[in-house]
């Protein structure tokens, strides 16, 4: 993650303080922490803030059509850029609409700051119109939150919020500001600095532990690196790659870790876990030493914990001490920032003797690669994902929604660079993909960005096509339309005797919907039309382009390790 230094003020001489209201104070504080853009939706309690934003030429406000989109877009913005994503909503219903996006940011450790309006101080706690206890509601889904009771406290609250959001293990921070605090005239002090005596993230790993880890890796016969989102957060891709190049140790990536290493690198085994490659899962489960970096041993990776990598000694590197030993005991725990730890560790590892190990892995890779077949004129979802990978060279930023299409894209899209795969990993929130892609496009207008969504999930946030059209975003939105809540249908097929309870969708004509919004819309029903449609969409400028690809309604996503089971129970493709 980009480490921005908090520069609350440059002036050394104490200028006479200006009078302004709380909302103007907020805007100035946001300016001083470097905010250029925020996503939001106004309402009564945030009207003073919007009035102050009206004068702020240098801070762009993107009006979304639903606050959920503001939060997801802030996440997309943060994950694509490495800087803090900002969203804002009014009190009560506005704030509660942010909840899903903030929870996603919490689960996936994304630096987001949310600013919410609150009812005026005298009526707080009285069930006033549009009052919700937002700091109470968001306590478990934010890294920190605060209710600001005086306008002069706003600068420090904002500096604290940004400092907390982007340092240590990043996460969402919410600042709740009552309307009358925004309106009150004050003389704010912008020279104040963050004050958080209880917050001291450890970044440097313990040298003795690092030596021990280096010795364990050097002596390993079947080592593997299990790398996750923490690599991306800390910007440790060069250090990871250097370690792999020097030692030849294979790397398996988590869903959140996609992009942490070039997936075309011969040492990279791609994604592991429930829908990961068979060879990555076999490899980690046969390993004798596992270097786990920036991962949290999520159950979608480990399956049944006691059977996960049963022969391995674990070296666990994480900036959050609470992650180490949480799910699986670590033999060599290292608390620290991935970049720093890998930089220190790399030079101390002597290349282990692993020719036999690689022979085994290559044999597995040959035996069970990802593969698909197009049958009876139907479009395979995997073919579309594979094509998108080829057409973009794995260098576009892809935001996915949640479901089968997400897993297929994770399998087929081979990220070449960090911060190119944006997906709701921990929360698995449908409705995420399109807003997150918008956020990413605002953060990286120079880059090809695309959304890959399911027909189900897209309908949770598609109203914001208005926003994308309004801002003339060059944004392809590819729908893998299987006429179903495909992942639900798959589970019902495998585990509920094919009783398809409420998983089949009757959909609108998405291309026509797109056109009604002023976007471009293309409908694709035949395999031979797919490539041309995707090529057109990727080349479309100045307007979002929805490609509704009608895919095989019966395709299932494999391999699959059923929930709570182990690699031994993995369901392979036929």
């Amino acid at each position: 993650m980009v480490r921005q230094v908090i520069a609350p003020g440059s002036a050394k001489t104490a200028a006479p303080r200006r009078q302004m209201n709380g909302a103007q104070t907020l805007v100035e504080a946001l300016r001083r922490v470097g905010v250029k853009l925020l996503f939001g939706h106004p309402g009564g309690a945030s009207l003073p803030i919007y009035d102050a934003l009206y004068d702020a030429q240098d801070i762009r406000h993107i009006l979304v059509r639903h606050e959920q989109v503001a939060a997801h877009a802030a996440v997309g913005y943060a994950r694509a850029s490495g800087s803090v994503g900002v969203c804002t909503a009014t009190s009560g219903p506005g704030a509660t609409n942010l909840i899903t996006g903030l929870t996603d940011a919490m689960m996936d450790s994304v630096a987001v700051v949310a600013i919410t309006g609150q009812v005026p101080r005298p009526v707080i706690g009285n069930d006033a119109f549009q009052e919700a206890d937002v700091t109470g509601i968001t306590m478990p889904i934010t890294k920190y939150n605060t209710l600001v009771m005086h306008p002069t406290d706003i600068p420090r609250a904002i500096y604290n919020a940004f400092h907390l959001a982007r340092t240590g293990r990043p996460g969402p921070v919410l600042v709740d500001i009552p309307r009358d605090v925004s309106q009150e005239i004050c003389e704010p002090d912008f020279e104040t600095v963050p004050h958080l005596p209880g917050y001291r993230p450890v970044v440097e790993g313990n040298p003795n532990q690092i030596t021990e880890a280096a010795d364990a890796l050097s002596a390993a016969a079947r080592p593997i690196i299990y790398a996750g989102g923490g690599i991306l957060t800390s910007g440790a891709t060069p250090e990871l790659t250097a370690l792999v190049d020097a030692t030849g140790i294979p790397v398996a990536l988590t869903l959140m870790g996609k992009g942490a290493m070039d997936e075309m690198h011969p040492r990279c085994l791609g994604m592991l876990g429930m829908h990961g490659s068979a060879f990555a899962n076999w490899a980690i489960n046969s390993a004798d030493v596992v270097l786990a970096v920036g991962v949290r041993f999520d159950d979608r990776v480990t399956g049944r914990l006691k059977d996960f990598a049963p022969h391995a000694r674990f070296i666990h590197v994480d900036i959050d001490p609470a992650e180490i030993g949480k799910n699986k005991p670590a033999h060599i725990p290292i608390v620290g920032d991935a970049k720093q730890v890998l930089a220190a560790l790399g030079p101390r590892v002597r290349a282990p003797q692993i020719e036999a190990w690689w022979k085994q892995i290559e044999e597995w890779r040959r035996r069970n690669p990802f593969r698909y077949r197009q049958r009876d004129g139907r479009i395979s979802h995997q073919y579309v994902c594979d094509l998108l990978n080829r057409l973009t060279g794995g260098r576009a930023i892809v935001a996915t929604d949640v479901g089968q299409h997400q897993m297929w894209m994770a399998q087929w899209y081979r990220c070449r660079e960090p911060r190119t795969f944006i997906t709701s990993g921990g929360l698995g929130a449908m409705g995420f993909g399109f807003p997150a892609a918008m956020g990413a496009k605002f953060a990286r207008p120079d880059k090809q960005v695309l959304a890959l969504v399911g027909d189900g999930g897209f309908q949770m946030t598609l109203q914001d096509l208005s926003t994308a059209v309004e801002h003339e975003l060059s944004l392809p939105i590819v729908i893998l339309n299987n006429g179903a809540l495909g992942m639900v249908r798959q589970w019902q097929t495998f585990f509920y005797r094919g009783r398809l309870s409420s998983s089949i969708l009757r959909n609108p004509d998405f291309a026509a919907v797109a056109q009604a919004f002023g976007a471009r819309g293309i409908r694709v029903t035949r395999p031979d039309e797919v490539e041309a449609a995707l090529t057109t969409a990727l080349a479309t400028e100045g307007v979002p382009c929805v490609v509704d690809v009608h895919c095989d309604p019966e395709e299932n996503c494999l391999p699959m390790i059923p929930s709570g089971q182990s690699v031994a129970e993995m369901i392979l493709d036929e």
């Binding site: 907390l164 005596p197 209880g198 959050d320 001490p321 030993g325």
Partner: protein
């Protein structure tokens, strides 16, 4: 009351700020664990409070709780108290029925436990006792037969013995 499978003590120093108690309690609640007792009070520095939390959880999970608690921004220090020798104290007020016939008997019991009589009426006596939880439990048990009207207990407070900080 003392019939808990496991009781682990966690001592937490926090900034004295709104919402901190809820954050700390919420973290424990979220993990489906019962708080057996919780006591909060200021320290020698009025801006810092100490919470002593006794949770019904297996000892091997206690350190994970302490780690999670350390992530709360206002938490300055969280210690899972495991093997270190400690001083544990609890205070209880017990209001018990008395008759002219039982008064002396109860005062004798109180003497043994070094409890003080802090209120006395025709029909009731209120006793104050301090000590480890087990001692308070034992005292309460002995008073049951006289008819306990009300009990108020503080919950345990703990410090590690000697020069080591808690």
């Amino acid at each position: 009351m003392s019939e808990i499978a496991h009781a682990a003590t966690i001592s937490v120093l926090v900034q004295n700020a709104p919402g901190v108690l809820v954050r700390v309690a919420g973290l424990i609640r979220r993990r489906g664990v019962n708080i057996h007792s919780l006591s909060v009070g200021p320290t020698e520095d009025p801006s810092i409070s100490r919470m002593t939390i006794v949770v019904d959880t297996a000892p091997e999970r206690t350190e994970q709780f302490a780690k999670q608690l350390r992530k709360v921004v206002e938490v300055l220090r969280a210690t899972a108290i495991d093997s270190s020798p400690t001083v544990d104290r609890e205070l209880a007020l017990i209001k018990v029925n008395v008759t002219p016939g039982t008064r002396l008997e109860i005062m004798e019991i109180a003497n043994v436990f070094r409890a003080n009589v802090v209120d006395l009426t025709e029909k009731t006596m209120t006793l104050e006792v301090t000590g480890k939880g087990e001692k308070v439990d034992a005292f309460v048990q002995l008073l049951v037969k006289y008819g306990i009207r009300e009990v108020a207990r503080t919950g345990q407070v703990t410090l590690v013995r000697g020069a080591q900080a808690t």
